[in-house]
Symmetry: C2
Subunit: 224 residues, 2 copies
């Protein structure tokens, strides 16, 4: 398959394919001469994957590249796979030791302190999860706080209940037949399912609000 055919069957412009080749997002074709190479289905699949991750997944090419790196060079343990797969290529890969020190003393890091407290309350060992995830969660809590939005521990508990139940099912569904399948499942499934998840949540909001407020007036009137 020549590059123009690859472009045709993947829907990606030739110039973009060349660009992806240069970035290392797409593996080189088999060279048949100095100025000729042939591509196969693996290149079509890769291109579709990249476009899916970039398009709906909303990822940067840098993050896609690190996902590809994990798929091509899988880590040794299942657990090791989950951390990097979660936030590969994201900002904030800072040192984790600093987090152990702070523990609700630093007024600047209320969100991170809350994460530690919650993990303790939930009976979760902080060591079994990645500090980068703690940081993300802390940042998210801080952002919610900063924008003047209150989120009770009760509400957080609801999130934990439902999401960990979901996560457990997802992990349980991980194929164990081959390492390639498992790596693909995690590296692609974790980030690609995210937009789906958020869409279903919004669908749920609309469904629930239709049930509660169906045909009812604006909050102004409803409150009176």
């Amino acid at each position: 398959m020549r590059i123009s055919e690859l472009s045709g069957s993947s829907g990606v412009p030739v110039a973009t394919i060349k660009f992806y080749l240069r970035l290392g997002l797409l593996h080189d074709g088999r060279h048949t001469s100095a100025t000729q190479a042939s591509y196969d289905d693996s290149h079509v699949d890769r291109l579709k994957m990249v476009r899916a991750l970039v398009g709906v997944g909303g990822m940067s090419l840098a993050r896609v590249k690190s996902i590809i790196a994990v798929i091509e060079n899988p880590p040794q343990t299942m657990h090791e796979l989950l951390g990097p797969a979660s936030l590969m290529g994201r900002p904030g890969d800072v040192d984790c030791d600093a987090l152990d020190v702070l523990d609700e003393t630093d007024p600047e890091a209320t969100g991170h302190a809350r994460v530690h407290r919650l993990l303790r309350e939930w009976g979760w060992d902080p060591a079994e999860s990645f500090c980068s995830t703690h940081i993300e969660m802390g940042d998210a809590l801080d952002a919610i706080e900063d924008s003047g939005f209150a989120l009770s521990d009760l509400a957080l508990g609801d999130y934990r209940d439902h999401l960990t139940a979901l996560a457990a099912k997802e992990v349980a569904r991980t194929p164990t037949t081959s390492s390639e399948a498992a790596v693909r499942y995690v590296a692609l499934g974790v980030p690609l399912v995210e937009p789906l998840l958020l869409a279903i949540r919004r669908l749920g909001h609309q469904h629930a609000s239709a049930a509660i407020f169906s045909g009812s007036a604006a909050p102004e009137q409803a409150a009176r």
Copy 2:
């Protein structure tokens, strides 16, 4: 409060504040003379909100602006609020009538057909949710499919169960005391909680994998 003080208490550079003022992300201060204006706490709050939505929320300034528009000029019904709040400023505000026509005939739109089928199976009226949400969900399903990842209806059902339970609780928690509080809750809560949600899911993955694969070897070994 002068602009430099506003900058100090919000942590946003003066040049950026001017930029936000020009874009309409920040309301003008009260002019005291031709070249002087005074700002108050509402400006500090707004700046913090904008930074939270842009930073952790990962939104574009355009989307932040449309969220601000909703907060400043709320829609008439609760239900009307949820649609725009969900995907304000996102790409894909296409015509919805086209979706009614397709109904699993178009091979190009398998994801969207699946959304319609799922909604029917779940007993949800498609009319009570926004077609833009259907489109997002369809796109997400297509992207998952395109990248060579299979997602069973069973797994989708799990997502629906947990996320709609969560969404229902979130909707139930919407304050009805004042319209301002309700609008703020929805317009900020829907998008800002998203990163938190995803972080907890990843935490759940790590927790679950620690329980299952604790100390176990790589999938290669485990599979044998």
